[in-house]
Symmetry: C2
Subunit: 325 residues, 2 copies
């Protein structure tokens, strides 16, 4: 028969509460007591995870990750980093590609509320889901503003906007256009737009931002980008919302006979390992994916343990110097 | 009311044990018996998963996906497709990025053996894990040869090798070099090499294959590719093992002053959506990611329900015509 907590207490000649405190590292404990308890645990080949299960009956050691889709290299690399780090802490990872699917996102939240997972990392675009209104949920958001209660982990979008716009202007662009997501979307990536518009105005230039939905099919996106060139033939610099869009613009520029960087300067965003390997010539702003993952897990651990956290964590970006700007 | 195992037995005029043996492909069975049982199953519209649920009460509705890393666009897109389809069937997905980590892979297998997940999709590079030797496990492999008992889902690697090599030769290349993984690795991707070597020999040309490990750091890979150009300055065509390697070769060719496609023809492999968006100019062989996911799930469902499966499922590839070959 498997040894019990009380067997450990008996052998160590301490109370059950003391064994529990040693196992959970709680309250004042002398080194002598700690040593006695661990000696008894070892002698009995007692597995404390049994206790953990008794104490926290609903602990699953599962963390849910809800992102638009791991098919996107930014979210794929982020998920890989989160999973590798969570695994080292004894967690397994459930993923949900929640792209535009409010019902699916709600289901994962209900899983959390019914304690089928211990915590959630969310970076989805779906808004107005009622379940997020519960207070103190073990949730962290990446790049999304959920509500006042859920901490956000993000890279320095404002700084990214400043670095990108300044680089385009420093290299001689005068008619810089920016592409960003819909203004209605609650995401800190809008700060790139604020930065771009501020830098342009500071240089006495008129900012012009096109709003493009992340989920728009490629063909429609391409038509919209084509429209930019026909509406604004004077454009000589583009600050794109991500590297895939930037690649599409490169292709289009090629079709329209505009040489990059001679006729058009171009900067992408995200700077994933994949994009830097496949398209190293693209100048882009690199998000710190590994640090985003590390911070998200630290903050999630704090939330799971009821430790107060900050409301926002902003991590530094870097510039990848390619040949396009 | 849903038909039961005994209804099938009655209609087929066999014992319940025989029906169970047919469903689980166990013991000696005549073809006549198998045919009778399946005719009764069809006539009654009997769904063996009901039995499966009765037999194995520990159903978790969790499927584990063990791939090297979702940070790689092929595995990221494959995982997204698997998760979207499994979710529609009521399953949630646990992921493990098992890159070179035998202990981690073993842990997931133990989860399966202790019924913490209902099934596993594996596409890992780790070899010789003892737990795979259990028979009839609800496991499918993608692009990996595990053992005689585990079905493999793969794209037509031989055909991919033929299409790539033929295209390079048809466009005038004479000195074509192929890059593939280590020969010792048990994966059907080696058939690309067989195809390449056969096509070369059929044209009276000498094949030359370089073996490069998928996990090799980028800097070492680049040094090795540089070696190819210095060892074989006559090279005028390269059939790479994946699109990331092809991108690295493009970059290197640019540095060495070799124009693509004028001085060097180049074909990649995988043709993920990400690669085709970021680098549409690269000619490549497109693996059918969505069909691989659909087939893997069908076969896994069969395995989970004890329905016999084929040992191998080969799906067609396509050519993406870029400008590099």
């Amino acid at each position: 028969m498997a040894p019990k907590l009380e067997d450990v207490a008996k052998l160590a000649q301490v109370s059950k509460t003391t064994v529990s405190r040693v196992l959970n590292n709680r309250g004042y404990l002398s080194q002598q007591t700690i040593d006695k308890v661990y000696a008894a645990i070892k002698a009995l080949d007692y597995h404390p995870n049994v206790v953990a299960r008794q104490l926290y009956k609903n602990k699953t050691n599962l963390i849910g990750i809800l992102l638009p889709t791991v098919a996107n290299p930014f979210f794929g690399e982020l998920t890989a980093a989160l999973e590798m780090k969570l695994y080292q802490q004894g967690f397994k990872v459930l993923i949900g590609n929640s792209m535009n699917d409010v019902a699916k996102e709600t289901e994962y939240l209900n899983q959390l509320l019914t304690k089928q997972v211990d915590g959630l990392v969310v970076g989805t675009h779906n808004q107005g889901i009622k379940q997020y209104e519960h207070r103190d949920l073990p949730i962290v958001a990446i790049d999304r503003i959920m509500n006042q209660d859920i901490p956000i982990i993000e890279s320095d979008n404002y700084r990214g906007g400043v670095v990108a716009t300044t680089r385009l202007l420093d290299q001689g662009a005068q008619h810089v256009i920016h592409i960003n997501g819909p203004k209605a979307l609650a995401t800190p990536t809008k700060r790139r737009r604020d930065a771009y518009e501020t830098v342009m105005q500071d240089h006495g230039l008129t900012p012009l931002t096109y709003e493009v939905d992340f989920n728009m099919p490629e063909e429609r996106k391409k038509a919209l980008f084509r429209q930019i060139f026909s509406d604004h033939p004077e454009v000589d610099g583009i600050f794109a919302s991500n590297d895939t869009d930037a690649a599409l613009i490169m292709q289009l520029a090629h079709e329209l006979g505009r040489r990059i960087p001679d006729d058009l300067l171009l900067i992408g965003y995200d700077g994933t390992k994949t994009a830097r390997e496949l398209l190293p010539s693209l100048t882009t702003i690199v998000q710190p994916i590994d640090e985003l993952a590390t911070t998200a897990i630290q903050v999630l651990n704090d939330r799971m343990q009821g430790v107060p956290t900050k409301q926002e964590y902003i991590l530094p970006i870097k510039l990848w110097q390619g040949d396009t700007a």
